[in-house]
C-alpha cells in the first residue's frame, strides 16, 4: 500500500516540534545558563552542554532507585560495587526513551535562542531616511548613449515591439532593419535607496562611581544588544555618548568604557546632548529613535530635577528609552536614586530596570525588547 508521504516523514517534522519545545525550555533556563557560562567572552563556536532531562512526557513511573537485572556478570558476586566506567552501559537503543540527553549548543546558537523573540519596540516602519551613499542602479532603457553601452537584448525587444505595432511581424525578418528609435542603451543612474531608519543612542554614565563590576554588567548588556541588532537590524545607526558632569560624544563603544571611572555625575548633561544631536542630525519624522542609558543612579542631588526635565523634553521625539540602573552590592550610596525620580514621569515609552547581577541583564533585555 502507498503510505502518505508527509506522515512518513514524521521524523523531520516532529523533530521541528521537539526543537521548539527544546528552545522554550532553554529560554526558561537561560538566566541560569548565562550566569554559568561566559557567553560574552567565549569563542563563538564554543559548545555548551545542556542536559535536557526535562524533555520527557510526565508519567506515572518508577523512580531511579530500586532493583533490576543485568546480564553478562558472570564474574560478579553479591556485594560487589558497580561503578560506571567499569561497565559498558549497554545498548542505548534498548533503554527506555526519556533518558537524559545532553544537547550541545554553540554560544552563537544560545544567543540566537536568547534573542529570538526580541524586537525594537514601537518601531515605525514608515520612517525612511534617504541614504545618500547609495548604490548605482543599472537602467537599461536609456534611448541615448554610446554604442559601447548598447543593450542588445532590449534593443531587439524594442525592434520586435515596433514590428508588431506596425503589423510587419509576419514578413521576413531579414528585410527589416533596426532603426535608431529601437536602440536601447545601458546606463547607470544613482539610486537613492530608501531604508528603514533607526538610530540607537548608547548612553553611559562614566562617572567615578561606576566601578569595574558595574561596568562589566553594562558591557554585558551592550554586548547582547549589539548581537541583537546585528541579527535583526544591521542597518541601524549608532551614537555613543558618555557623561560625567558633562556629556561627550564618543566615536565608538570602547571609548566610553575607557573614559569611565572618574568625575562627578550629572545625568541631565547626556540627555541634553542627545537632544542636540537629534535636533541637528536625526529628525524624528525620518528616524526611529532609541535610547539606552546605563548608570548606577547616583546622580548629584541638584541635578535630579534637571535630568528629569531633560528626559521629559526628549520623550516626545523618541520611540523608546530604556534605563538600566546597576546596583551591585559594592555601593555605599544611601541617597535617592535617579530611577525614583524618573519613575514619576510615568511614561509608557520609558522603561526602567534595576540590574543587580548577570541574570538581570537577561531580564532587562526581555523587559526592554520583548513584546508583551
Amino acid at each position: 500500500m502507498k503510505f502518505p508521504y508527509d506522515l512518513f516523514d514524521r521524523g523531520k517534522i516532529d523533530k521541528r516540534r521537539y526543537d521548539k519545545r527544546l528552545r522554550d525550555i532553554i529560554k526558561s533556563r537561560l538566566p541560569a545558563i548565562i550566569s554559568k557560562e561566559n557567553i560574552i567572552t567565549g569563542k563563538r563556536g564554543k559548545k555548551v552542554k545542556i542536559s535536557v532531562d526535562l524533555l520527557e512526557v510526565w508519567q506515572f513511573k518508577y523512580g531511579k532507585n530500586g532493583k533490576s537485572v543485568g546480564m553478562g556478570g558472570g564474574n560478579l558476586t553479591p556485594g560487589d560495587y558497580i561503578t560506571q566506567g567499569e561497565w559498558i552501559p549497554g545498548l542505548p537503543g534498548q533503554e527506555p526513551a526519556g533518558q537524559v540527553y545532553e544537547q550541545e549548543f554553540t554560544l552563537s546558537e544560545l544567543i540566537d535562542i536568547m534573542l529570538e523573540d526580541l524586537n525594537l519596540p514601537n518601531l515605525d516602519d514608515k520612517k525612511h531616511a534617504v541614504n545618500e551613499s547609495e548604490s548605482y542602479e543599472l537602467q537599461a532603457r536609456a534611448r541615448h548613449g554610446g554604442m559601447h553601452f548598447i543593450d542588445k537584448r532590449q534593443t531587439f525587444k524594442e525592434f520586435l515591439k515596433r514590428l508588431v505595432a506596425q503589423h510587419k511581424i509576419n514578413q521576413r525578418v531579414e528585410n527589416q532593419v533596426i532603426t535608431n528609435e529601437d536602440m536601447r542603451f545601458k546606463s547607470f543612474i544613482p539610486r537613492n535607496k530608501e531604508i528603514l531608519s533607526a538610530i540607537i543612542f548608547f548612553l553611559l554614565d562614566a562617572s567615578g562611581s561606576m566601578d569595574y563590576e558595574t561596568l562589566y554588567l553594562v558591557k554585558a548588556f551592550f554586548f547582547y544588544l549589539n548581537e541583537f541588532l546585528k541579527r535583526k537590524y544591521d542597518f541601524v545607526e549608532r551614537e555613543f555618548l558618555s557623561h560625567d558632569t558633562e556629556a561627550y560624544i564618543e566615536p565608538d563603544e570602547e571609548s566610553f568604557f575607557k573614559r569611565a571611572g572618574a568625575g562627578g555625575t550629572c545625568s541631565s548633561s547626556v540627555f541634553l546632548k542627545t537632544k542636540e544631536l537629534i535636533d541637528e542630525k536625526f529628525p524624528p519624522s525620518y528616524w526611529n529613535i532609541y535610547l539606552f542609558y546605563f548608570s548606577d543612579g547616583e546622580n548629584f542631588e541638584g541635578d535630579m530635577p534637571l535630568a528629569v526635565k531633560a528626559v521629559k523634553d526628549i520623550l516626545p521625539q523618541v520611540n523608546f528609552i530604556g534605563y538600566g540602573e546597576i546596583r551591585t552590592d559594592n555601593s555605599y550610596y544611601t541617597g535617592p536614586l535617579l530611577s525614583k525620580f524618573l519613575k514619576e514621569l510615568g511614561s509608557e515609552k520609558l522603561k526602567i530596570v534595576t540590574v543587580r547581577g548577570k541574570t538581570d541583564v537577561y531580564d532587562a533585555l526581555q523587559i526592554f525588547l520583548k513584546e508583551v
Partner: protein, 461 residues
C-alpha cells in the same frame, strides 16, 4: 548468494512453512533509505499523528545510529498483511538475516493469542487517526491538542486489554426492592401480609470495582469537550494494538532471533543458498545481536533467544512443542516457567540495586532473579496505579487514585506530581493519589487541586 534476493526470500518463506511448520500472514517488505527507517522506527507505528516525542526519539535514534551505538535492522508492524521496513543500504547478506527475523515476527504475531484481537489493518486506522488529529490541530490549536496528547502519553499503560475495547459504561445507581429469605419464625413474628423486603440502593459506588483502565474511565466520565474525548478514543484504540507487543517483548524478539538463526540454517541445508564464507558471516552477525555483552540492561533479544534455543535443545530439536508455547504464553509466564539456573548461569544474569549514586550486586540466585524479572515486567513495566472501587466521588467530583507498591519499587514523585497536575486540569476537579511507601504503615498522599500539588504523609487507615 546462489539466488537473487527475491528468490531467496521466496525460498525462506517456503522453508519456514514447510520445514518449520510456521504460518504467518503475508509480509509486505518495504526497502527504504536509512532516514526513513529512523523515522518509521521512532514510534510504535510506522506513521502516526505528529508529536514532539517522535522528533526527540528520531533524533536520539539517529544519533545513536550515527555514533554506531546501535544498529537498527528492521521495523516490523504486525497485521494482515504485516509490514516490514528494511534499510535499503544493507548488504544482501544482512538483508537475508533481517528477512528471516521478520518471518519470525510474522509467525509470532499471527499465532500468539495476545495478538488475536489486535487490529489487523492498523496502518489504515493510524492514517485515519492522524488525519483527524491534524484537523483538530487546525480547529483547536496545536498547543491544546499537544496538551491532551501529552497527558495520554503519560497514562499510556493505564489500559486494560483484558476487557473489550468498547465495553459499556458502569450501570447507573438504582433503587431496587430486595426480598429477604424467609426466616424460621416469620409466621409468628410478621403481620399477616407483611413480607421481609426493603429498598436498597445499588451501584452506588463508582467505579463498582477497581478500575485499571483509566483512559476508558476518562473517556466516559470526564467533563471534557467531545474532540478531546475523541483523542482519548483514538489513543486507546492504538494502545490496544501496542499492548501485546509490550507484554511479549522477550518472547517475540527471542522468537524472531531464534527463527532467524534456525531458518537460515535450515534453508541453506536444503537449498545451498550460501557459500561457506557468506554463511560464516551470517552466523557472526547474528551472534552480535544475541550476544550477552556485560550490561546493566537485559536485552530481550539475548534473553529470548537463549530461552528458545534452550527449549529447542531440550525438545531434541523438535520444534512442535515450541510452536505450542509461542501460541499460549506471554512474557511473565514464559519467564516463570522456563527461566532456570542453567540460563541464569549461561547468561551471567545478576540482580543489582541502585540506591542514589551507589549500585551494588544483590543476588545471583535463580529464584530471586526470576521473581525480580517478573516484578519488573508487571503492569507493562509500569507502576500499579488504578482507580479503586468507590474512588470517584460523584457529588464532589474528586478522584482518588491508588498506587500499590507490589513490585518493591517506589514511584517517581516529581513525575507523579506533574502528571497529577495535568490530570487535574483535564478532569476539572480535585485528584488525590495515595502512594504506598516502603513502610507499610505510611501512605503518602498527593493532592492536586487548583493547579498545585500538595504532599501529605498519612498513616495507613
Amino acid at each position: 548468494m546462489k539466488y537473487s534476493l527475491q528468490k531467496t526470500i521466496e525460498i525462506l518463506e517456503k522453508v519456514a512453512e514447510d520445514s518449520l511448520g510456521l504460518n504467518f500472514y503475508p509480509i509486505e517488505f518495504q526497502w527504504v533509505p536509512h532516514e526513513v527507517l529512523m523515522s518509521v522506527s521512532s514510534g510504535p507505528f510506522p506513521i502516526r499523528f505528529h508529536h514532539w516525542t517522535y522528533g526527540r526519539d528520531y533524533y536520539a535514534l539517529s544519533l545513536h545510529n550515527r555514533l554506531g551505538l546501535s544498529h537498527l535492522y528492521e521495523s516490523f508492524f504486525y497485521g494482515k498483511p504485516s509490514y516490514a521496513f528494511i534499510k535499503d543500504s544493507e548488504t544482501p547478506m544482512d538483508q537475508i538475516l533481517v528477512i528471516a527475523h521478520c518471518i519470525g515476527h510474522g509467525d509470532f504475531s499471527t499465532n500468539n493469542s495476545l495478538f488475536k484481537y489486535g487490529n489487523k489493518n492498523i496502518v489504515k486506522t493510524v492514517i485515519r487517526h492522524a488525519e483527524r488529529i491534524s484537523k483538530m490541530e487546525t480547529l483547536y490549536g496545536e498547543k491544546q491538542v499537544e496538551e491532551t496528547l501529552d497527558l495520554l502519553f503519560g497514562l499510556y499503560f493505564l489500559v486494560d486489554t483484558n476487557k473489550s475495547l468498547n465495553r459499556a459504561p458502569y450501570p447507573e445507581p438504582e433503587r431496587v426492592l430486595v426480598r429477604e429469605p424467609h426466616g424460621e419464625f416469620d409466621d409468628l413474628l410478621l403481620e399477616k401480609n407483611e413480607k421481609r423486603e426493603r429498598w436498597q440502593e445499588i451501584n452506588k459506588e463508582f467505579p463498582p470495582f477497581n478500575e485499571y483502565d483509566l483512559l476508558w474511565f476518562l473517556y466516559h466520565y470526564a467533563d471534557a469537550p467531545d474532540w478531546k474525548k475523541e483523542i482519548i478514543k483514538i489513543f486507546r484504540e492504538e494502545m490496544h494494538y501496542v499492548t501485546p507487543i509490550i507484554k511479549t517483548k522477550v518472547m517475540n524478539e527471542g522468537w524472531a532471533s531464534f527463527i532467524e538463526w534456525l531458518l537460515v540454517r535450515e534453508a541453506d541445508q536444503r537449498y545451498s543458498l550460501f557459500d561457506e564464507s557468506e554463511f560464516i558471516n551470517l552466523i557472526k552477525t547474528h551472534a552480535i545481536i544475541t550476544s550477552v555483552a556485560p550490561s546493566m540492561f537485559l536485552s530481550p533479544y539475548a534473553l529470548g533467544f537463549a530461552l528458545w534455543k534452550k527449549l529447542f535443545t531440550e525438545n531434541s530439536e523438535d520444534i512442535s512443542n515450541l510452536l505450542e508455547i509461542r501460541k499460549n504464553y506471554e512474557d511473565i509466564g514464559f519467564i516463570r516457567d522456563f527461566l532456570n539456573r542453567e540460563t541464569v548461569e549461561d547468561m551471567g544474569l545478576f540482580e543489582y540495586q541502585r540506591k542514589n549514586a551507589i549500585t551494588t550486586v544483590t543476588s545471583k540466585d535463580i529464584e530471586e532473579i526470576r521473581s525480580r524479572l517478573m516484578n519488573l515486567m508487571a503492569h507493562m513495566y509500569s507502576p500499579n496505579v488504578y482507580l479503586p472501587r468507590g474512588g470517584w466521588d460523584r457529588n464532589g467530583g474528586t478522584l482518588r487514585l491508588h498506587f500499590k507498591r507490589d513490585t518493591e519499587r517506589d514511584l517517581d514523585l516529581t513525575h507523579a506530581e506533574n502528571i497529577l497536575k495535568a490530570l487535574e486540569k483535564f478532569w476539572g476537579n480535585k485528584i488525590i493519589l495515595e502512594v504506598e511507601t516502603e513502610d507499610p504503615q505510611k501512605i503518602l498522599i498527593l493532592e492536586a487541586v487548583d493547579g498545585t500539588v500538595e504532599r501529605k504523609p498519612l498513616s495507613q487507615k
